[in-house]
Symmetry: D2
């Protein structure tokens, strides 16, 4: 099958390094994305990813990672990782266990799982030592700058008040996105910038890209949709006018 | 193969309900019990369990549960579970995801992953609603009594200062075990009592059983042993004089 | 001045020990109860306490305790105490510092400051060793039972969904109060039972006492009232038909 | 009394803004610096500060701040502050309550009281809005950079493994100090840099200043000294050869 053309907007801008639009689907702990349903949603994401040549990352619960990794080939990230060493850390989620289960990266410091500053740093280091990618979530421009200075692969700015609201950050608060991009690039131009919160439709994604972000974090807008596949297709096709 | 006789001590005492010695192996986050090595250790536990007719529970990291569940048939517990509902709880470990991955229970409130009182209650409720077993860890007689009053399947008392010490609780602090047993039975006789911390050898296990506990929590003594299988066999055979 | 008669209901019931209605005013972190305004509110509480012969406890922020203790003679409790020993625990609130500042007790595990089970136990022990009184807050009957088994002076059950709601627990959920009283008395009859959440008016207080509780926790209903003194007087006089 | 000459080293360097050596004494929760003993230690610090023309900040427990503020005129900082708004935040330490009690600043994110990244940002903002100074503690160069990017008045880098060790950071790990200074000045030259951990003697302080820091955080080395005044005098005089 011939992948349909998409995301020219970002691709044109990409110069110093190849930038593709990144769509990160955070499965959270919804019934519609747990266990068997995590597998099905991951497969939908993989299909859409191939069909529309967009880079997609699925972020299931930790317990679901191994089964999902047996079902799909697109990157799987964890929702959280602890930067603890091996040893007596019962209940922690280690980078080593994530990698063994098939993950290739992790969210860190999601607004629903905030971490202490020193632990964000430790989580990034733990991932880096095992070649796992990192996306550090932040809540405003100041914390975005702080997170970028720790050298993750990506920061993802998400105003907490918009998460799950259906009101897209790229429209409700475009400044937080553009200022985050500017702040990150001043600190370390190799750190990518994503944004999230309230994004559901293609035009929200398009707005996010136009503001300079390289992709988005999505959750309830897709997961809770009556037809997950259709919601995802509308998102990625809607980015084109 | 004819299972060898073991643990007559406890079995003789079992009257109101069938009590068998329970050996819970907490894999923690050791390199020797993560990923591929979690599978191998789980298989050793299963072999010893069959060979010696002792009930064994393995407690790998969450990310390892699914792969372990494909490899062995003995019960697999998680090291931690969050009593959160389905929805926006990124990074939480839900009972539903554990069950889907193949777990049949969970530790709760391990000394390396202490929980707020209300969250212990929520975790127990979440597990109960999905028929997952619960072992609530505690640090002294007072908290053992409190934990028992929440109605878990088991409490496991472990003096924090002895965890990983190699000094067995059943010898260093026998009173904490016998008093915990007494306290729990006063609160709710259907709650089982385990003990842990520093237990490595059969005589430690024997002492724990003689103090009235129904089993033990083990970790480093087995996991860090040069020969994990031999260490485990010595433990379960050593219980007999 | 002759104290007006009040609370005969509870006083008639008091037999094994002298029980008086306890009204605990949690100042939280409202502007209306911080700094200078904490002093003024404490003085109002003291006036009402004397005028109406009701036992009142004020619970200002930790930083306000010393100044409040210079202004009033009624008991002052802290909103939180850490059960840490002396030493390297920067930022903790020790029982010793509270006592030195003039407090005679502390809330523990308030719904806005939940603690790990082992820390609740440690906080109670730390207070007990310095003759500070303890009120452990809980969210349902199960955790009330657990808290009572740790032997505090009081437990205070407060359904989180009613806190600050204006809907009084004693009307919205009378069963949680009466069952908490029963559960606590089964565990340890020397532990007092308070209730809270949504209580503002005298009839709510009366209902709480009729359900077997020995007093109430109050906050926003008094603190945010246009006229704090009048709100408090209406509360304590309204308890009589 | 004529203040004795001190700290010419730093004073010579000060150009863009007046820099004086800052000595911050963290009282932690030691018996030797709680309650009455907090007052006495604060008075010693004030005496030494005047006598030797060195800027000294005392950091008692929150409950001790008000009494200390009645006893001395040197700046008093809190050990921790929560960036919560006014309202229902029982047990939190608000900037408003600290200011009312007499504090003029606060430590934030001390290694014994680590905070989530977003909360560090909120604490700084809460202090700034009330003209309270902020010192954000960090554990390595990466987190120092992150903390500086949030715009506090000072960052204080303290390798956790050296805290309370008696081994001075300025000798054991001089690079962490000089690199922190460099990193901070690259991010925001208006942010001051302190260092801490293991510093007791004048030569440690001198080394810290020579590495570019503007002052130090001290605790056990002074607090646990048999003669606190003498220990403090030796520190500030020892900075001169």
């Amino acid at each position: 099958m011939q992948p349909k053309f998409i995301c020219s907007l970002r691709l044109q801008k990409a110069q110093a390094r190849e930038i593709v639009t990144l769509i990160v689907i955070n499965f959270k702990t919804y019934a519609e994305s747990t266990g068997e349903k995590a597998l099905r949603l991951a497969e939908i994401c993989e299909d859409v990813s191939k069909e529309y040549s967009v880079q997609m990352i699925v972020v299931p619960q930790v317990a679901d990672i191994h089964a999902v990794s047996e079902a799909v080939k697109i990157p799987i990230y964890a929702q959280h990782v602890d930067g603890v060493p091996q040893g007596g850390f019962t209940g922690s989620v280690t980078a080593a266990s994530l990698k063994a289960a098939g993950a290739s990266g992790s969210l860190i410091n999601h607004s629903e799982r905030r971490l202490e500053l020193a632990k964000i740093d430790a989580s990034i280091s733990a991932c880096r030592s095992l070649d796992l990618k990192t996306i550090v979530c932040t809540n405003n421009v100041a914390t975005t700058r702080a997170a970028a200075s720790l050298g993750p692969d990506f920061v993802a700015v998400e105003p907490p008040e918009l998460i799950g609201s259906g009101i897209p950050v790229s429209k409700a608060n475009p400044d937080i996105v553009s200022q985050s991009v500017k702040a990150v690039k001043n600190i370390d131009s190799s750190v990518g910038v994503l944004c999230g919160a309230g994004i559901t439709r293609g035009e929200d994604l398009r707005a996010a890209l136009e503001l300079g972000s390289e992709g988005v974090l999505l959750a309830s807008g897709i997961i809770k949709a009556k037809d997950q596949q259709r919601a995802l297709e509308e998102l990625v096709t809607g980015v084109k006018r």
